[in-house]
Symmetry: C2
Subunit: 385 residues, 2 copies
Amino acid sequence: MKVGIVGVGCSKFGARDCTLQELAFEAVSEALKDADLAQEDIDISVVGCVGTRSYELMPAVVVNEYCGFSGKGPLRVEAACATGSAAVYSAFSSIKAGIAEIAIAIGVEKMTEVDTATSAAIGGRAGNYLWEHHFYGTTFPAYYAMHATAHMAKFGTTEKQMALVAVKAHRNAAKNPKAHFQKEISVEEVLGSRVITYPLKLYDCSPISDGASAAILASEKAVKEHGMDAVWIESIGFSSDTSNMTMRESFVGLRASRLAAEMAYKGAKIIDPLNSLDFATVHDCFTIAEIMAYEDLGFCKKGKGGEFIEKGESDFGGKMPVNTFGGLKAKGHPLAATGIAMVYEIVKQLREEAGRLQVDLKHYRALSHNVGGTGHFAWVFIFGR
Amino acid sequence: MKVGIVGVGCSKFGARDCTLQELAFEAVSEALKDADLAQEDIDISVVGCVGTRSYELMPAVVVNEYCGFSGKGPLRVEAACATGSAAVYSAFSSIKAGIAEIAIAIGVEKMTEVDTATSAAIGGRAGNYLWEHHFYGTTFPAYYAMHATAHMAKFGTTEKQMALVAVKAHRNAAKNPKAHFQKEISVEEVLGSRVITYPLKLYDCSPISDGASAAILASEKAVKEHGMDAVWIESIGFSSDTSNMTMRESFVGLRASRLAAEMAYKGAKIIDPLNSLDFATVHDCFTIAEIMAYEDLGFCKKGKGGEFIEKGESDFGGKMPVNTFGGLKAKGHPLAATGIAMVYEIVKQLREEAGRLQVDLKHYRALSHNVGGTGHFAWVFIFGR
């Protein structure tokens, strides 16, 4: 039995002056309208929210109540920055299990309720708290800086190649009305921006954004009954890894991403992603993360990610257009909203509704890749229409 | 396709001098041994943890790593005090969806890392933060005190009837080696204990406990292949409700409990629970909560819960033995561990391994009822063997 996405919504990302639940409703109302469904058509609502930066300790309750899903929202899911994908998984498995016919996955994060320093400290606690954050003060830019220096040392990846990821992201985001940043930047601006943790500079990092996204999933039966237009979930891959960086096999990639991709490709019977998928959305919380993703997802060989961006292979017209919506880097990264925002962009693309950001479609298939922490969690989905 | 519980584990509940992950491993290792399985047999691990009282902000990662499930633990679930049931649901739906053959649900909570006053304040934030906790300072004993006074005013329920729930709980817990409290108490002791929020006294309240529990679920196919002994999950009911107490229809019961029970009974084709089930575990976070549960679950008419306990109907030999393991009240209530600890006790009973606490079995069917907040979330499961 197939499960499809029949409606998507996404709030404007950025510093938003509204409550968590108001933000969620912005995405939910768009998704309901998109699917031409009402709250009473939904059997179960799964709220994804990391929530460590906002007032509400039980975000699922207030979000479901405000969005009209009281009685239908029995749980919240969390998988750090991959929370949105975990929510889609939970909605998907509820339908596939025959428990629901139509389900909604909501991802919402209000990050600007605390200041940047507090946010960074909270982020650091999301790794291995005791050994890495408490004793060494590691924050997320520091974690990804370790990946970047390892990649530079082993493969000769350059700061300029990383900067190109940011430049592409901003160029695309400038055409995306939902994006946090709407301004193009140059390689020189990235390289000249202040150092956060060497070699990562300000423009190598995704911003702290508020945002919400929602996806409505339906069984094949419900799709037919309601005459809805579905983008099908062909397969789901997931993995997780140790929280202790000293236990990782290497820093030049994320094992969890690789394993999740393997599982998703196997499920969708994909051997060569470049000749099976039209485009991909990947987890570019830092520019180095996108370069590692090219490699971990098999778009190029390990170590060749820097070249891949430099040759324009991840741009429009390249071998695998990546993050045509602006990515986490420039559209924004409101933790739990990110995974479902990827689904939003994929559905728009596969329906050929992406306007100025539309990619050419041949296979009508695409991939989303969503990472929690530094590969503590990883989810890969394959979609087809 | 049926899904069964093939292994259960539960840590000793109480104030525990160990880490979150060590606590989880105590339950996980018992469950693996019980099922005669190893970590490599598990396809997916779902960690339930509310986590607001312990250091780790991403508990699923450290718990999965320590328990040997790295690579298999892609998400955490949360549903306040009903988190354990949400974790079982997630494991159940993963199997039922055909994504996993064998799954583990882990519930773990380290509550004693903060002091009691802080814990109460955090608990208060789990209701409707802005209107109820921030402005009025409502905490969980205060919420349930409102339920208790409403029940007393409308139905003449007495403080003594509530005390009887605590006396029964302590009597049972005294025979349960996993219980936080191992000491019997008298009605006079309950009535004479200091008032927390009128009419609830110290002994009307469940304690603040550390604890972990784990349940291994398997598909019918895996049960046969491994020759395992399964307690089947016959049906699952869930609901949720508004976080705003002023929006509730009444305070004498929990609408979410009633709706979750209806859904579970319908799924298991149960019309008369008293003549279909041998016993039940219900969410007695406060004594009034157990009395309301008798009514909301249909063990007696609305308003007759006080009489039900007074006549001994919820004791061994009564119409529906309830919380024979000591309940949340005396075994303890480590939030996320609670729902799976109920599953632990039910499996032990249905396998006739409950020792001195064994109930007489006729139908070989039982119910678990797990509430988050004051009915913000509710889960009801029907089990059969």
